[in-house]
């Protein structure tokens, strides 16, 4: 049992916990004895971010300072992280803008004029002009957009250059402009521990042929978890490809970390223990819950999404990719990881409205699955919060609705392929290769706002280790039956019903835990010394 202040055990006096269910908030009476894991309070931000950036690039990790790498007339590509980070987008100035405002004048001072800024979207949707303007600032946007500031296009004819093949047979292809540059500077915003490091260039600027080495069900099954780079097969494969990239290209990495101040003062009560709320906070929370109940879905989404988060920058590190990333990851874990004790038989999640793949859109059914068995399941070090074969109870409406601009290919994936099979390996082998070449969806990826047609497959694979580990998923609050069925989930009308169902396949007196996300939180879980006996076996 954890004594950490962010782990609260429910007793008879505890108030109901407030969990996200999409864009709504629900009050849940958790049983006595349930462990509720809260995010840590936000770490203090750096007092002068630009000074920290200047210091980092002048005193880099395992590398010469950036200015020593610059020569007049050289070709430089700056790649930046895309809109999937952070969530929701941060208040201006975005940290990418702050880094660019330091780096671009330095390049100019050294006579570097051939500069392109590429948004490292990989197969994600392209960022819109407004989103890019928000990320880099108005003045940089006006100077570079659209000829020297643009989205990576993994389907552009001649847009990728093959750098080589790893000993393990991974094809390494990178954006041609970056591959032909004398220097590539990557400006990262490390929101979660699976971001950054070699993933920035080797994934952010690559194409399908490179992705297939690690974006597949086998790599995900072997990742334990993919938020813990040391134990992530996904990360190991990315690293070996990234090392090849760094041997062939001159890469200078700048990584930044932020705290978890997602809601600021206005909605800060959402991050707190419900028993510790002051009277005003409690009234505000109740008012918000009631307001969200009657607002239409788009308005609810807007309340959370249109208000940028006041994230503060907690660290800036620069230099050689791996040395930089080790420091970045340590800072991320310092903010996010909460010692949560041992594993639980039943774990409760409120599934929020947001994921890295639906900025500006609602969380569609495939992304709900990606969140429950993917992201939320993988927010651990040591062992998953839920025991193998245990039950997850998740709150979400599972509405059969897809954003027509961002997720057109997802519609076909959910309604054409999932009725045939939920087996990720079969989907990978039988359907992925043909569907990823779909001309219309590729056109939407290249010129519209859509994710690549391979992306829905990745979203299903993202839940593969959770799918192999979790025994049952019970959805509370679904507005239909068939979407949960398609995803392989059961449904319950109320939490009490879901708990009763979960207990049917749990040991007597089951351990119950609740991960209280958002803001972002990870758990350090001690694995069981010996497997627990389940109820059925005891009889």
């Amino acid at each position: 049992m954890s004594n950490h202040p962010c782990v609260v055990t429910i007793d008879h006096r505890s108030k109901p916990r407030v969990l996200f269910s999409g864009t709504k908030l629900v009050e849940v009476d958790l049983p006595v004895g349930t462990r509720v894991v809260y995010p840590k309070p936000p770490m203090k931000g750096l007092p002068d971010v630009k000074a920290a950036i200047r210091y980092a690039i002048a005193h880099p990790e395992n590398s010469e300072p950036l200015f020593t790498k610059l020569e007049p007339g050289m070709k430089v590509t700056i790649a930046i992280d895309d809109i999937s980070l952070p969530l929701p987008p941060m208040q201006s100035p975005d940290v990418r803008q702050q880094v660019l405002e330091v780096v671009l004048p330095l390049l100019a001072d050294y006579g570097v004029t051939d500069i392109h800024i590429i948004v490292a979207t990989c197969l994600h949707r392209p960022m819109t002009a407004d989103e890019i303007k928000h990320a880099v600032g108005k003045s940089i946007f006006q100077k570079f957009w659209p000829t020297r500031l643009y989205n990576h296009d993994a389907e552009k004819p001649g847009g990728l250059t093959r750098l080589g093949v790893t000993d393990e047979g991974d094809v390494v292809e990178i954006n041609t402009r970056a591959a032909e540059s004398d220097l590539v500077i990557y400006v990262n915003l490390n929101f979660v521990p699976m971001d950054g490091g070699h993933k920035s260039v080797a994934v952010g600027l690559c194409g399908y042929e490179s992705l297939r080495s690690h974006h597949n069900p086998y790599a995900i099954r072997e990742s334990n978890s993919y938020m813990d780079p040391e134990r992530s097969e996904l990360n190991h494969r990315v690293v070996r490809m990234g090392r090849l990239v760094n041997r062939r290209m001159n890469v200078f990495t700048i990584e930044t970390t932020i705290n978890n101040d997602m809601f600021g003062e206005g909605l800060g009560f959402l991050a707190k223990n419900e028993d510790e709320l002051g009277p005003n906070e409690e009234r505000a929370l109740k008012a918000l819950i009631r307001t969200l109940e009657f607002l239409p879905a788009k308005a609810r989404q807007a309340i959370f999404e249109k208000i940028p988060a006041p994230y503060a920058v907690t660290g800036v590190f620069a230099g050689e990719t791996e040395a930089v990333h080790a420091k970045t990851i340590a800072k991320c874990f310092e903010q996010y990881c909460v010692p949560a004790g041992g594993q639980a038989d039943i774990v409760v999640y409120g599934v929020p409205y947001i994921s890295p793949y639906n900025v500006g859109a609602h969380l569609n059914p495939l992304l709900v699955s990606c969140m429950i068995q993917g992201y939320l399941h993988n927010l651990y070090r040591g062992a998953p919060l839920v025991r193998k074969g245990g039950t997850v109870i998740a709150f979400h409406p599972c509405t059969d609705q897809f954003d027509p601009d961002q997720h057109p290919a997802y519609v076909e994936f959910v309604h054409r392929f999932l009725p045939i099979t939920r087996d990720a390996t079969r989907l990978h082998k039988e359907f992925e290769d043909e569907f990823r070449k779909h001309p219309g969806f590729i056109q939407l990826y290249r010129t519209g706002e859509a994710y690549h047609p391979a992306h829905p497959f990745y979203m299903w694979y993202w839940g593969e280790n959770g799918r192999q580990h979790i025994g049952r998923v019970i959805i509370v609050g679904a507005d239909n039956q068939y979407i949960p069925e398609l995803l392989g989930y059961e449904t319950a009308p109320t939490f009490a019903d879901a708990l009763r169902m979960a207990k049917e396949t749990a040991p007597a007196n089951p351990d119950i835990a609740c991960l209280r996300i958002c803001p972002f939180v990870m758990v350090d879980v001690e694995p069981d010394a010996a497997p627990k006996q389940i109820a059925g076996e005891a009889k």
């Binding site: 819109t128 219309g440 590729i442 519209g448």
Partner: protein, 242 residues
């Protein structure tokens, strides 16, 4: 093998049936003949407008009646000019990339258009279409009668000709794709498994949102780019600058 069926006017090129027709009429052997035909077309304009709003097939038949008396060799001779002056400058920026991707995916590319076969042939050759299903003028003694041969390719009949084409070539329609800009092509898009709306008109856009049909903008070269303003009846505003 699968097929991708493309409407042409408004889908691949920013033009409509009037553009090539006007080119043919303006370039008759004698200026008097051109003036006479233009005058007749102008007089019939209100009827064409009504036909366009009510029945695409009626519109096609009325419009192509103005070809009556044109010789077959003149129609063929002017087709290259029509391509150079009318179609080529109006090919949407993203059209070639989309067609290339269809070809790379092993699809047979078929243009299904209400335009005349003779006028659209150079465009089809230029863009590498494998087949063209288009309207054909009835010819008697080397001259157009002004009537169209059956079936007239427009609206619902596009669906019929696609079904027949798929049967002849052994395509599974559930695996085929169709691309169009117009609500009048909903039947053609409904018979395939993968319909796509391209720069759609208002009616088709609303329908696409209801049915989760993807909407493409082929007037853009890259994400975040601008596209031209679509005007009523398949016209496009001039390209914006800056």
């Amino acid at each position: 093998m699968r097929a991708a069926y493309f409407d042409v006017d408004g889908t691949i090129v920013g033009s409509n049936l009037l553009y090539p027709t006007l080119h043919y009429i303006r370039n008759q052997a004698s200026p008097v003949d051109s003036a006479r035909r233009l005058g007749k077309l102008a007089l019939q304009a209100p009827f064409l407008l009504v036909a366009e709003l009510r029945d695409r097939r009626m519109f096609n038949e009325q419009l192509f009646s103005h070809f009556a008396g044109m010789t077959e060799d003149r129609l063929v001779c002017l087709a290259d000019e029509v391509f150079e002056d009318v179609f080529e400058p109006r090919i949407f920026k993203g059209a070639r990339g989309l067609l290339d991707k269809c070809r790379d995916a092993g699809m047979r590319i078929v243009f299904v258009t209400g335009a005349l076969d003779v006028s659209v042939a150079p465009l089809a050759k230029h863009l590498g279409a494998d087949a063209v299903i288009a309207n054909r003028l009835e010819m008697k003694e080397g001259k157009a009668t002004g009537r169209l041969l059956r079936p007239v390719v427009a609206g619902p009949s596009k669906a019929r000709v696609i079904v027949e084409d798929a049967r002849v070539h052994g395509h599974d329609l559930a695996e085929c794709q169709a691309y169009s800009d117009s609500e009048s092509d909903v039947p053609m898009m409904s018979v395939v498994g993968h319909p796509f709306c391209v720069n759609p008109d208002g009616g088709l856009r609303a329908l696409a949102r209801s049915y989760d049909w993807p909407i493409l903008d082929l007037d853009r070269e890259a994400a975040g780019g601008r596209s031209r303003l679509r005007l009523p009846f398949g016209f496009y505003a001039p390209e914006r600058r800056g």
